[in-house]
């Protein structure tokens, strides 16, 4: 493998990894606060692509506006899911909330299959994403170049929100100790709702960019990216925002590199991520950035 192809593959990996990072944040935020695996997160990601698609292709909005409307709609869907399905079960046994999450996920997927059909739709891409750039002798597709740049910008905004604003402080406080935070006069329900909005908006943005990268969208497109992003969150240390980003990049680059170095194993790309998950659970279950949690009595 020449240096140029390696660089190209690395860029592909980083580009894919940045999308996993966007998605992984949503999982890690919700898990950090509620201790719940939000199985529906991958489906919100799918909805992001569809909302943007409908806004652009049917309502004829300009591309950028369609995408923004799509992301806002995703945030609303995320909040609705929290309000309707998860809030009533906040004090229920863990397993009930998990089952509900699976139910919500399956509901969105099947509703999608019934309403828009299983046939993939072509996603409109702006010219920016279609250009080909020559970078240090390597031909880099516009998507590959812009997706990580936009993602990193979004991630920077997110880090600012989580670590530099009052809202972010409240989110971190709720994650540490929900009851104590409530006693300090924070409206915990609102914080959780906004966490879902934030995570879902990121998922929506990720969905749109995923659709630019692989411009065939279908109602089940969120299942695998969602699961891999959760794996990324585990690898990075679940509950840790920076860890989720790092985990996303690791999974993305590893996945692309495996396919690049061993082309015969391309069919098993997804299985490889499963291997990473099991490996981390065996060796370092708390993840790269995570701290070992003691069970509280």
């Amino acid at each position: 493998m020449t240096w140029v192809t390696f660089f190209q593959q690395l860029m592909n990996g980083v580009s894919l990894g940045s999308l996993y990072a966007l998605l992984a944040i949503g999982y890690t935020l919700v898990y950090g606060i509620l201790g719940l695996i939000n199985f529906a997160h991958g489906d919100v990601f799918m909805l992001g692509a569809y909302f943007a698609f409908f806004m652009i292709a049917i309502f004829m909005l300009p591309w950028w506006l369609g995408v923004i409307v799509g992301i806002v709609l995703c945030a609303i869907v995320g909040m609705t899911i929290e309000r309707v399905a998860y809030r009533p079960l906040r004090d229920a046994p863990r397993i009930s909330a998990l089952i509900t999450a699976v139910g919500v996920s399956f509901f969105i997927e099947n509703l999608g299959l019934v309403t828009v059909g299983a046939r993939p739709k072509g996603f409109p891409r702006p010219d920016l994403m279609k250009n080909v750039y020559i970078l240090a002798g390597a031909r880099i597709h516009g998507v590959t170049l812009w997706v990580p740049i936009i993602s990193l910008a979004i991630l920077a905004v997110l880090l600012f929100i989580v670590y530099r604003t009052k809202m972010g402080m409240a989110m971190r406080a709720v994650a540490k100790d929900m009851e104590a935070t409530r006693l300090m006069g924070v409206n915990v329900d609102r914080v959780i709702l906004l966490t879902f909005a934030l995570g879902s908006a990121l998922a929506g943005a990720g969905g749109v960019m995923w659709a630019c990268k692989y411009p065939q969208i279908n109602p089940l497109m969120g299942v695998f990216p969602g699961w891999k992003a959760f794996t990324a969150a585990v690898v990075g240390g679940i509950g840790n925002v920076v860890g989720a980003m790092i985990g996303g990049f690791i999974i993305g680059v590893a996945e692309i590199m495996i396919a690049a170095f061993f082309p015969s194993l391309t069919g098993y790309r997804d299985a490889f991520v499963f291997g990473i998950l099991i490996f981390f659970l065996l060796i370092k279950p708390s993840g790269i950035m995570g701290e070992t949690l003691k069970e509280k009595v």
Binding site: Y31, G35, I37, F39, A85, P88, L89, A92, P93, R94, I95, S96, L98, I99, T100, V102, G103, V104, F106, F107, N110, L111, L113, V114, V223, F224, W227, F230, T231, V234, G267, Y268, D270, A271, V273, F274, L277, I278, L281, L282, P285, L293, E295, V297
Partner: protein
């Protein structure tokens, strides 16, 4: 005390004989459509009861049954497929060596089912080992991944699974004797297990892991045991399913299968074997009835187009609503026992007198 155990055993044997009599009558008089639904129902019982053991009784959330069923199903299919059929089916790439040279005669069907269960149980062991040491949620995400990965393998390991085309022409060894018999056996064995000291440990883990550990229960070993048994049941169920419909392909064991089982155990009551058994049968029939909803209808001059896939939308909405408003399901975590039946019968007698 001893008398009660003896009485229950006798009653159980009587029930078994009655069931077998019913099976015999069903074979004679029911049409093939109904027999098929009954077969499916019994297979659901086998898998759902096993699934409830890990999800409901031990309280560890697994999403793996579709993967385990696939493993059991493929194992049984490869073992039981006649040699001539093997040559015909594997035309892209021939079947790999040891399996291409032999096939099980029909009287070894039971052994094939057992091996299907063993293969699935081994897979459960491999997944359970790294995940069950940790807190519960990792099992959910690892088993969900496993269920999808096993389909990736089924699609790509062409010399073993024939890829997306799947395996056709599997002899239909599954009949009511097998399904009813195995459903009965599963319920009986799992119920005995739940009533034993193991079962108490499982329930203790479900209620409070820290307290259970403080009482000297080895969390990891008990969780692993429940998970492996559950995997075994799913493997056997997968084997039965494959020999019932005669084909196996990756699309047969998608996540929808796990989802159906989840509906069954939630509706029946997480932790109630009685509940899982009854709802498994109800579900098998309900699925057929709801097929009607999806078909196009004409009422007078109106014609409603059929909406394929509507069933799953209804089921998934149902699951969420059940979890929010009716979390205990039909039976909660209660069980029907002979003592209850006897009490009930004598009470209604006294009431009349």
């Amino acid at each position: 005390m001893d008398n009660k155990i003896k009485r229950d055993l006798v009653l159980t044997c009587l029930l078994f004989i009655l069931l077998m009599l019913g099976t015999w009558l069903a074979q004679l008089y029911l049409n093939s459509y109904l027999v098929r639904i009954l077969n499916t129902a019994c297979i659901y019982v086998v898998v759902a009861v096993g699934y409830n053991l890990i999800n409901g009784i031990t309280g560890q959330f697994s999403l793996g049954p579709n993967g385990f069923m696939a493993m059991g199903g493929y194992t049984v299919a490869i073992l039981m497929l006649p040699l001539a059929q093997k040559e015909q089916v594997y035309f892209i790439e021939p079947l790999i060596y040891p399996f291409s040279a032999f096939t099980f005669p029909s009287y070894l069907f039971g052994l094939a089912l057992f091996l299907g269960g063993v293969v699935a149980a081994l897979a459960a062991l491999l997944i359970g080992f790294p995940t069950l040491r940790l807190r519960g949620d990792y099992l959910a995400i690892a088993t969900f991944g496993f269920g999808e990965i096993i389909l990736v393998f089924a699609n790509n390991l062409i010399p073993l699974t024939n890829g997306a085309l799947g395996i056709k022409g599997i002899p239909g060894y599954t009949n009511l004797w097998w399904t009813v018999g195995l459903a009965f056996l599963t319920v009986f064995l799992v119920k005995s297990l739940v009533n034993s000291s193991f079962g108490r440990a499982f329930k203790a883990i479900r209620e409070n892991e820290v307290a259970a550990e403080a009482m000297g229960i080895n969390l990891f070993r008990h969780k692993l045991l429940a998970f492996v048994i559950s995997g075994f049941c799913a493997g056997v169920g997968g084997g039965l399913f494959v020999t019932l419909i005669g084909t196996v392909s990756p699309s047969l064991f998608t996540f929808t299968m796990t989802f159906n089982l989840l509906i069954i155990i939630v509706l029946g009551g997480l932790g109630s074997i009685t509940g899982s058994t009854i709802t498994a049968v109800i579900f098998a029939f309900l699925q057929e009835i709801l097929r009607e909803v999806e078909a196009p209808h004409t009422i007078g001059s109106w014609s409603l187009p059929g909406i394929p896939g509507m069933r799953m939308v209804v089921f998934s909405a149902l699951l969420v609503v059940l979890m929010i408003f009716y979390r205990r399901g039909l039976f909660g975590n209660k069980e029907l026992s002979w003592q209850l039946v006897i009490d009930w019968v004598s009470r209604s007698k006294n009431g009349k007198a």
